[in-house]
C-alpha cells in the first residue's frame, strides 16, 4: 500500500487516476476505521489535506465555500457559518465523538455514501453544491446528486470533492437538522431530517426544502413536504401535513436499527420538530 500527500489538485488527480484501489484521505474517520476493520485493502491512499484551500472556509457570493478537509469542529467555531447555516453545522457536529469531530469532514461524510449520513440531509435542505475536481477538469454537482446508493457516488475514477458550497442565506430564513438515535450520542441515525425554510413578514413559508436520511437507499428531498407548508404559517395543521408528507415519502426497510412503521412515523415527528426550530431561527429567535 502506497501513501501520497500531494500539494496540488493536479498531482492528487493524477495519482488517483493512475491507480486502481486508490482511496482519498481527508479526515480519515471512515477510511481508517474500514482499514482497521479489514473491510478495505487499498493499494494507494492520497491525503488531500496539504492541498491549498482544502482546510479553508471562504466567503463567496454571500454564501460559504467549505474546503474538503475542514473538520466539524472547525465549522462549529466559524461564527459566520454558524450564523447562516446552523442546521448544517449541527448536523456535521453530530458525527462521532469529540475526537472524531477534530477530523470528520462534510465531503467525507458525503463520499462515504451512507444512507444514514447526518450532514447530507442538512446539506440537501440547504441546497448545497459539491465542487468536484478530476482528470476532465472541475464540475459542480448538487449534493443530492452525489450519492447514488449505499456506498456508491457519482464520482468518476480520479475525481474527488474539493469543496462544498452553501449558498447565500436569505432574509427571514433558517435551517435545522434532527436525527433519531437510540442513544444520546456516538450513534447512527435511524431517521434524519433536515429542513431549510424562508418566511415572509407575516410568518408564512415562502420557500422550503425538506430532506430525509436513513429512510431509503439515499437521501430523499421531499417536494411534497415543502409544498405542504408553502404559503402557510406553521400552525398545528401545517405541521401535521408536513409530518404526513414526510412519513409518506419515506421508503425505509425493516432492519436491525428499526422497523418500517417506526421509521415512517418518526420521519414525521422529526420533520415537525425540525420545522419548529428552523422557523424560530428564521424569525431570529434563539433556538
Amino acid at each position: 500500500m502506497r501513501f501520497e500527500a500531494p500539494r496540488s489538485v493536479e498531482e492528487a488527480v493524477t495519482a488517483l487516476a493512475g491507480q486502481t484501489g486508490a482511496h482519498v484521505l481527508a479526515g480519515g474517520t471512515d477510511l481508517l476505521v474500514k482499514l482497521r476493520a479489514e473491510m478495505i485493502e487499498p493499494d494507494l491512499i492520497v491525503d488531500i489535506k496539504r492541498i491549498a484551500g482544502m482546510r479553508e472556509i471562504a466567503a463567496e457570493e454571500g454564501g460559504w465555500r467549505i474546503g474538503a478537509a475542514v473538520s466539524g469542529a472547525e465549522m462549529g467555531e466559524h461564527a459566520g457559518l454558524v450564523a447562516d447555516w446552523p442546521g448544517v453545522v449541527e448536523a456535521a457536529g453530530l458525527i462521532g465523538s469529540t475526537q472524531v469531530q477534530g477530523r470528520a469532514t462534510l465531503a467525507g461524510n458525503l463520499c462515504n455514501a451512507s444512507p444514514a449520513a447526518d450532514s447530507v440531509p442538512a446539506m440537501v435542505a440547504a441546497g448545497a453544491v459539491a465542487r468536484i475536481v478530476g482528470p476532465e477538469g472541475t464540475r459542480d454537482l448538487a449534493v443530492i446528486d452525489v450519492p447514488k446508493g449505499p456506498g456508491k457516488t457519482a464520482l468518476e475514477r480520479g475525481e474527488f470533492i474539493a469543496s462544498i458550497f452553501l449558498p447565500a442565506r436569505g432574509a427571514r430564513s433558517g435551517d435545522a437538522y434532527l436525527r433519531f438515535i437510540p442513544r444520546t450520542e456516538m450513534d447512527i441515525a435511524v431517521v434524519g431530517c433536515g429542513i431549510s425554510l424562508s418566511l415572509d413578514e407575516a410568518g408564512r413559508v415562502t420557500a422550503a426544502r425538506v430532506a430525509l436520511g436513513a429512510v431509503g437507499p439515499k437521501v430523499i428531498l421531499v417536494e411534497a413536504a415543502a409544498e405542504a407548508i408553502k404559503r402557510r404559517v406553521l400552525d398545528e395543521a401545517a405541521l401535521s401535513d408536513l409530518a404526513e408528507a414526510c412519513s409518506k415519502a419515506a421508503t425505509p426497510i425493516d432492519d436491525k436499527r428499526g422497523t418500517v412503521a417506526f421509521r415512517r412515523h418518526v420521519a414525521g415527528v422529526l420533520a415537525r420538530r425540525a420545522a419548529v426550530i428552523a422557523e424560530a431561527r428564521a424569525k431570529g429567535e434563539t433556538a
Binding site: T259, V266, V269
Partner: protein, 747 residues
C-alpha cells in the same frame, strides 16, 4: 496471643477509607500492560478462520495452500488436538470446531504467520467444504419437536420423553403448594416475559501471547479472570502437566464473567507448539461479539397470586434459557434466585436448559438472575399497582429475613434485604415529584456469592515492608482492597504494603475471579496470612526477649509484651523484627490456603425514574439510586463503583442491548455501533447507598458486591417505563421501536 475475632464491633483504621488504588498511576499513564501489550522476540501473529454458517457439517478442510504461503509458520485445525478429556470436550469444541460448525463465528482453523497481512491472506487460502444444515437461534423454537437438533445424545434423564433433543435438562426448585396458594389470592397475574441475549461488553478484547518450548515447557500471557483456570484447562486440552505450563495474567480491561473460560489460549499454544515460535493472538471486536460468551436469551412464564393487602400467596415461574451451542445455560441460577428476596409459603420454579445455534453462553455478572428478576419483579409490580399498593411496602411485607426458608432451599442467616427496602423508603428519591411522561420503578435483587479455592502469601521484606501475593486478576480494585486488609491486620500504613497478582507457578490453586468472591475469599485469606505472619513475628520477639510466646501480643504494627508478668520490654516494630530476622530463624512470611465457605448472600433494591417520549418511544434515565448490602465496604469507592457499574449494564440490557440474528442465523450487529451499550451521556450519576449488615462468614463482615447490582435494574427500569408509557412492557430490550409500538397498540 489475642488474635481471635472478638464479638465486639471492630473499629477499623484503614478498612472503610478511600486511598488511591495502587495500580492507578499505571492505568492513567498507559504503563499498565494489558493482554495485547506483550511482545516476544520472533513473535508470530495468530488468526482464526470462522464459520460463516450458523449450522454446518464440516466435510473437508484443505490447508495446503495456506501452509505453502511464504511467511506462514503453522496452520492448526481440530485434528491437531486429537482426543481431549471429557471435562474439557465442550470447551475444546468451542475453541475449534470438530465435526460441525455450530454457530456463526465458530472457529474452524487457525494460522500463525510473520505478519497480520500474511495471516489474513493465509486464512483466505484455507478451503472448507460445508454441508449447510438447518439452524435454530430462538429458545422457544429450539424446544419445539422437529426443530433442527444440534447434538444427539446429550439430553439428560430429567427431560420428559418426546421433547426436542435441544432441551438438555430440567430442574425444579421450591416448596409448598402452588395451586392451594393461588386459591388464596385475590388476584393472579400470569404473563410471559422475554429477554434478549446480551454481551458482557468489556472494553478489552481477548488477547494472549503463548510460547511452547521443545522441552515441553509452556508460558502464556493472557487477559483472563482466572489464570489458574486457564492453566488447568489448557493443560488438559494439550495433554500437558499443569506444572509445566506457567500462566501470567495481564491487567484486565473488564470481564464481567465473560473471561472465566478460554477461547484463544489453547489455539495459541498449539500454534506456538507447531511453529516453535511465540504466537500472539488478539480478537477483533467483531470476533468478541460473534464468538465469545454472551448471556442467554430467555422466555419466562410467571404466575403469582396476591391478596388485596399485598401478601404473595404463591409464586410460580417456568424459565427457558438458551445457552448457545452447548449445555450449561445459567437457567438454574435464575430459577433459584428469582423468588429469593421473598418469604413465601408456596413457591416453585422450573428451569429448562436449551441449546441453539449461537455462541456458548459464558457467565455474565450474576449469571441467570437478572432475567428471572425481570419477570418476577415485573409481575409483583403489576399486582401491587393493580391493588393501589406501595410497591416498596409490598416487598417489605413479603421480604425475606433472618430465619426465612429461601425459595431455593437454605434458611437465611442475617441478611440485608429489608434494610435496603427501608433505606429506599426513607430516601428523598422515593418522594421526589415526577413530571409528564415520567415514571418511577423499583425492584429487588438477590445473588448467592461464592468463596472457593484461595491461596495467599504474605512476605515481610528485610526492611519491614510487606508484599502480598494473590492469584486473582485485579478486576475491580482488589489490589487496593487486599492491601488495605493486610495493612489493617498488621497495623501498618497502607503504603507499606504492595499487593501483586502472582503467576500460576507462584501460588497454589485459585478459583477464577467470579461469584463476587475476591474481596470476600482472597480478603479472608489475606487476613489469615497476615495473622500467620503476626504470630511468627510475636514468636521472634518472644525469642529475643526470652519470654513465653503466649506473653507477646501484636498491636499497632509492633510486638508487645502482654500483661504485667511478661516483663517490661519496649515494643518491637515490624521493621525492627524484620531487620534481625536472619538471626532469629530466617525470612518471615505468612500464608493461607482455604476453600472459603460462608460467602454470605447479598440483596439490593433499585429505584429509577425515566421519561418516555410518547412520539418516538425513546426512554431517558432521569435518576437512579442503588441500595445494597455490602456486609462491610472495604474501599467504599469501589463498592459504589460496583453498584453503579451493575446498574449501568442493566440499563443497557433493559433499553437497547440485544443480539440480533437474521433469518440466516447470522449475527446482524457484531460491533459496538449496532450493539448499543450505554454511553456516558445516556446516564445520570448513579446514586448509591451502602448498607452494612456484617457477613458472619468473614472476619471483617465482607460480602461480595460485584454481581447483585445487575439483578434488579431490568425489572426496575421495566416498571418505570411501564408507568411512564402507560403500558406494561414484558419484552427486553425496551428499544424505541418496541415501546412506540406498544404505546400505539394500546391506543
Amino acid at each position: 496471643m489475642a488474635l481471635d475475632d472478638s464479638k465486639k464491633p471492630r473499629e477499623f483504621k484503614i478498612v472503610g477509607t478511600r486511598p488511591d488504588r495502587p495500580d492507578g498511576i499505571d492505568k492513567v499513564t498507559g504503563r499498565a500492560r494489558f493482554g495485547a501489550d506483550m511482545v516476544a522476540p520472533g513473535m508470530l501473529t495468530g488468526r482464526i478462520l470462522r464459520s460463516p454458517h450458523a449450522h454446518a457439517r464440516i466435510k473437508r478442510i484443505d490447508t495446503s495452500k495456506a501452509e505453502s504461503l511464504p511467511g506462514v509458520k503453522a496452520v492448526v485445525t481440530r485434528v491437531d488436538f486429537g482426543a481431549v478429556p471429557d471435562h474439557v470436550a465442550d470447551i475444546m469444541d468451542n475453541c475449534m470446531a470438530g465435526e460441525k460448525a455450530l454457530y456463526d463465528g465458530h472457529a474452524i482453523a487457525a494460522v500463525a504467520a510473520i505478519s497480520p497481512a500474511v495471516a489474513r491472506h493465509a486464512l483466505k487460502l484455507i478451503e472448507v467444504d460445508y454441508e449447510v444444515l438447518p439452524h435454530v437461534t430462538d429458545v422457544d423454537e429450539a424446544m419445539k419437536p422437529g426443530a433442527p437438533v444440534l447434538h444427539e445424545g446429550r439430553q439428560e434423564e430429567t427431560v420428559p420423553k418426546g421433547m426436542s433433543g435441544n432441551v438438555i435438562a430440567r430442574a425444579e426448585f421450591g416448596h409448598g403448594d402452588i395451586e392451594a396458594g393461588l386459591k388464596q389470592a385475590d388476584r393472579v397475574v400470569e404473563r410471559t416475559y422475554r429477554t434478549a441475549a446480551t454481551h458482557q461488553g468489556y472494553i478489552e478484547p481477548h488477547a494472549c501471547l503463548a510460547t511452547m518450548g521443545a522441552d515441553g515447557q509452556g508460558d502464556l500471557w493472557v487477559c483472563t479472570q482466572g489464570h489458574y483456570m486457564v492453566r488447568n484447562t489448557c493443560a488438559a486440552i494439550l495433554g500437558l502437566e499443569q506444572g509445566q505450563l506457567r500462566v501470567t495474567a495481564s491487567e484486565i480491561g473488564g470481564g464481567f464473567g465473560g473471561k472465566t473460560t478460554v477461547f484463544l489460549e489453547p489455539v495459541a499454544l498449539m500454534l506456538a507448539k507447531k511453529s516453535g515460535r511465540p504466537v500472539k493472538m488478539v480478537m477483533s471486536r467483531s470476533e468478541v461479539l460473534r464468538a465469545t460468551g454472551p448471556t442467554s436469551s430467555t422466555s419466562i412464564d410467571v404466575k403469582i397470586g396476591m391478596t388485596k393487602e399485598g401478601r404473595i400467596t404463591a409464586g410460580f415461574a417456568e424459565l427457558r434459557y438458551q445457552g448457545g451451542a452447548w449445555p450449561g445455560s445459567p437457567v438454574n441460577m435464575g430459577a433459584m434466585s428469582g423468588f429469593a428476596p421473598y418469604d413465601l409459603e408456596n413457591v416453585k420454579t422450573v428451569g429448562w436448559d436449551v441449546v441453539t445455534n449461537r455462541p456458548k453462553a459464558a457467565a455474565y455478572r450474576a449469571p441467570g438472575a437478572p432475567m428471572a428478576a425481570f419477570a418476577i419483579e415485573s409481575a409483583i409490580d403489576e399486582l401491587a399497582k393493580g391493588f393501589g399498593l406501595d410497591p416498596l411496602a409490598v416487598r417489605l411485607m413479603n421480604g425475606a429475613d433472618e430465619g426465612t426458608k429461601s425459595s431455593y432451599g437454605p434458611t437465611y442467616p442475617a441478611i440485608g434485604l429489608k434494610a435496603t427496602l427501608e433505606a429506599a423508603r426513607k430516601h428523598p428519591h422515593w418522594t421526589a415529584p415526577l413530571g409528564k411522561n415520567q415514571g418511577r420503578g423499583v425492584a429487588c435483587g438477590f445473588w448467592f456469592n461464592f468463596g472457593g479455592d484461595t491461596c495467599v502469601s504474605l512476605n515481610i521484606t528485610p526492611d519491614g515492608t510487606v508484599t502480598v501475593s494473590e492469584g486473582n486478576p485485579d478486576i475491580g480494585g482488589s489490589r487496593a482492597s487486599m492491601t488495605m486488609m493486610a495493612a489493617e491486620e498488621l497495623g501498618i500504613p497502607y503504603d507499606q504494603v504492595r499487593t501483586i497478582i502472582a503467576d500460576t507457578g507462584s501460588l497454589g490453586q485459585n478459583e477464577v475471579t467470579d461469584g463476587s468472591r475476591v474481596t470476600f475469599a482472597v480478603g479472608l485469606a489475606t487476613i489469615e496470612a497476615a495473622r500467620a505472619a503476626k504470630r511468627e513475628m510475636c514468636r521472634r520477639a518472644a525469642m529475643i526477649w526470652d519470654i513465653d510466646e503466649d506473653a507477646v501480643e501484636w498491636e499497632d504494627g509492633a510486638a508487645r509484651p502482654a500483661g504485667p508478668n511478661a516483663g517490661k520490654f519496649p515494643p518491637m516494630t515490624i521493621k525492627e523484627i524484620a531487620a534481625v530476622a536472619s538471626n532469629t530463624g530466617g525470612p518471615i512470611a505468612g500464608h493461607h490456603e482455604v476453600t472459603a465457605e460462608g460467602a454470605g448472600v447479598s440483596f439490593a433494591t433499585h429505584m429509577v425514574d425515566v421519561e418516555v417520549d410518547p412520539e418516538t418511544g425513546a426512554t431517558k434515565i432521569l435518576r437512579y439510586t442503588v441500595f445494597q448490602d455490602a456486609g462491610k465496604a472495604v474501599h467504599p469507592s469501589y463498592v459504589e463503583g460496583q453498584f453503579q457499574g451493575g446498574a449501568v449494564q442493566g440499563i443497557g440490557w433493559a433499553l437497547n442491548e440485544e443480539y440480533i440474528y437474521g433469518e440466516d442465523g447470522i449475527l446482524q450487529n457484531a460491533g459496538f455501533l449496532d450493539y448499543r451499550i450505554p454511553v456516558a451521556s445516556d446516564l445520570p450519576m448513579i446514586d448509591t447507598v451502602i448498607l452494612e449488615i456484617p457477613n458472619p462468614g468473614h472476619p471483617y463482615g465482607v460480602r461480595g458486591v460485584g454481581e447483585t447490582s445487575i439483578v434488579p435494574p431490568l425489572a426496575a427500569i421495566a416498571n418505570a417505563v411501564s408507568a411512564a408509557a402507560g403500558v406494561r412492557m414484558t419484552q427486553l430490550p425496551m428499544s424505541p421501536p418496541r415501546v412506540l409500538a406498544a404505546i400505539q397498540a394500546d391506543g
